[in-house]
Symmetry: C2
């Protein structure tokens, strides 16, 4: 397939976009361009959906929380999983548990061990290699297992903590100890295999305190079931009690990660209830977008041989906006974007300081004059074909992610509100408005009622 006569303009990745403004303008021989329809839609729809979904989760979680993408097991095959990791990161997540995506795109990797890892141990007696050097390598602890057990006994004897738990699960203690021996600087323990409060948290703390004796700082715990708000508060109290009773500075701030079918709604509910969670691992609802599992971007013919074309439909929302168009974003005095406007290719572009009439494409009474303080052309050339135009640069993923976060920061907050957001204005020039409606009446047959 020869795409040398194809020219593609597109809105840059990471931009905030609105309905009816074309994401992409594809020009070229019709047969070639038609063959590009499905691949382009396939690549754009899911990517845009999951980046948007990630941004929505970030919006609810707030900027201070760590957001981790944990969705590979539930994505549509390996390729779906890789795409989910890439576009979740672009939309504002901090890291992924998908190692392949980390390697391919340089996304930070974060994860914990599995329940199966905990289950695979029977008792700490199984651990044969018990030696652990302290953080600066100056000294070796010959029996780290005993050190952890000693700490567990101390916790149990404590007046404050001892009442909370009795015998903790020994396979869990063995798993945590073994994990800490292997990754003393990355000790993040999954604490809900048997019982969070009575076993997981005390076992974690015993191992974390043993690590602390050797100069290491444990990362924290992960909760994967139960009442996450309650359990996170209980864990925080336990950590703070240890900080106080044993004089361990900063132990109260040990990180708490939560996972288990989280989504926008549960994040919002957790925020309202109050919790002590520092990081969220989000999988299923992020990569499969339960709230809206598909984005409905479509590909429409708008002009052929310099003749504008319109696609009518029994559904008015499916009517296409004809003509080869240029698209601009107009910014106001306060730096926020005011409106997007589409104009015919040969019309005069909007200019800073010059008043322009922006019309709703389909509703004749919705109009506004705009005097832009800044004008940004949205469609940039990413595939010049033989046109000789300069090709827009493709920045690395990290920079696109930063652009996306910056774009969202520059939006007026009422547009971003979860419930009943103010609609953002998408408009056409007066000339294009007239032309759309001329073409519409021209193509639509007149009914005959009898």
């Amino acid at each position: 397939m020869d795409c040398s006569n194809v020219e593609i303009h597109s809105i840059s990745e990471g931009y905030v976009v609105f309905p009816n403004v074309p994401l992409m303008r594809v020009e070229g021989p019709i047969a070639v361009v038609q063959l590009l329809e499905t691949p382009l839609l396939n690549l754009i729809n899911y990517a845009s959906l999951v980046a948007t979904n990630a941004a929505r989760h970030r919006f609810v979680a707030g900027k201070s929380k760590l957001l981790l993408e944990f969705g590979l097991r539930r994505a549509q095959g390996p390729d779906g999983g890789i795409g989910a990791s890439k576009y979740s990161y672009m939309g504002g997540f901090d890291a992924t548990s998908n190692v392949a995506a980390g390697k391919l795109f340089g996304i930070p990797l974060r994860g914990t061990h599995s329940h199966a890892f905990v289950n695979s141990f029977m008792s700490p007696d199984e651990i044969t290699d018990k030696l652990l050097y302290n953080y600066d390598g100056s000294h070796a602890c010959e029996d780290f297992v005993s050190l952890a057990r000693t700490w567990l006994r101390k916790l149990k004897r404590s007046h404050v903590l001892g009442g909370i738990f009795g015998e903790t699960n020994q396979s869990e203690l063995a798993a945590f100890t073994s994990y800490a021996l292997a990754f003393p600087s990355n000790f993040l323990a999954l604490v809900d295999t048997y019982d969070v409060v009575r076993s997981g948290i005390p076992n974690f703390c015993a191992v974390a305190l043993a690590l602390k004796d050797l100069g290491y700082k444990a990362v924290g715990i992960r909760l994967d079931s139960g009442d996450l708000a309650y359990l996170s508060c209980e864990a925080r109290k336990f950590f703070q009690a240890i900080e106080k009773e044993f004089g361990v500075p900063d132990f109260g701030n040990t990180s708490i990660t939560a996972s288990n079918d989280l989504n926008e709604v549960t994040l919002d509910a957790l925020n309202k209830q109050g919790h002590e969670i520092d990081a969220f691992g989000i999988g299923t609802h992020l990569v499969t977008c339960y709230a809206q599992p598909a984005l409905g971007a479509v590909f429409k013919l708008v002009e052929i041989n310099s003749q504008p074309r319109i696609k009518l439909s029994e559904d008015v929302t499916k009517v296409s906006i004809p003509c080869k168009k240029r698209c601009y974003r107009l910014y106001g005095k306060e730096g926020y974007s005011l409106v997007d406007i589409m104009i015919g290719e040969n019309e005069t572009p909007p200019k800073v300081g010059e008043r322009i009439l922006c019309r709703h494409p389909f509703n004749e009474s919705k109009r506004a004059y705009v005097v832009p303080q800044h004008v940004e052309e949205l469609l940039k050339c990413f595939w010049p074909g033989r046109s000789g135009k300069a090709r827009e640069e493709l920045p690395p993923l990290k920079l696109i992610r930063e652009r996306c976060i910056k774009q969202l920061d520059q939006m007026r907050t009422d547009h971003l509100r979860r419930l009943n957001p103010t609609p953002y204005k998408v408009s056409v020039s007066a000339k294009l408005y007239d032309f759309i409606h001329f073409l519409w009446l021209n193509e639509a047959p007149i009914g005959e009622l009898q």
Copy 2:
């Protein structure tokens, strides 16, 4: 990664399966097996979900309708789309519009042209190559365009049909004529680009009747917007009126395909209302499974070094069933399956004619004696590793699809009911029941309330 010491048993593809019965049993060195967790879950979850979703759509649509998968544009990347096509077919769809999936797996291909194809024409005068040989090649029609136009005039002059439409859209007539010239034996026209009743259907019929003069049979129309029930009935009336008025045998049965965000619920509503649709093109809701966008299959450690392991949880539904198990399906006198039962690996398997106690794994009062008329072992060896076991055959996709359809036919209908289906019984042997609960009490710490 060396999997020669790994052994995998699995339920055969296309089988009906139930919660708690393992889909797969993976044995081998723990580090290797642990690395297989995410790939296996990624490959199984989506595949099972979409095959199930396809089967549910088939169940609602009924056996006589043609079901076409149209989801590539909305899947999670190219790989997600290929998977969607493959597993929709397995679950009972008839064909796909995904050409790559057709090539890879031999799935029948079906599709129509796009709206953009219709839009790309201005008028029939644009068509330069108007010659069409008749079906048996014995004679050439020099001007097929005129033949179609003549038929359109005849339709308009008809007393019965003429009142329905006035001037039809000429770009649409041009597109249909051109399509028919290229694919005279596969003429399936998308009729909603401008107006279904006033333009699309009359234009289609004119071209179909012209084709008929040359010995071809048009395939039919596709509706992609509007009130599908109403429009399909209007189309059917139009076709039947032509059959009657112009004496065209079978023209009344011209096929009607519908698409546009169809799903189980809309299929059900269409059935209740009454419609004349013969084939459904289903995309978004099939491949992204709006009703449940992800299947939650998980991977659990159940035994290590011959020691059974259990995973407890704050959520009882997340408690795993320990031990290396064998799984059987027991059939009753009427040929329906009665119950699935899991037993420990070394227990005596259930036998035909012998009474066996089947217990609910977690609810002590739910028990039943079963005398099976037929016993089927569910987990078969698909990766023998070095065990020397025979490897189960992997039949071609078409046979797996037939197996799936047969399996569903053999289910009791009350289990398949959409609303409040009778739960299918999944059980464990008495011995395994006792062991689960012994292990559970053994691992769970006892609470201390103060």
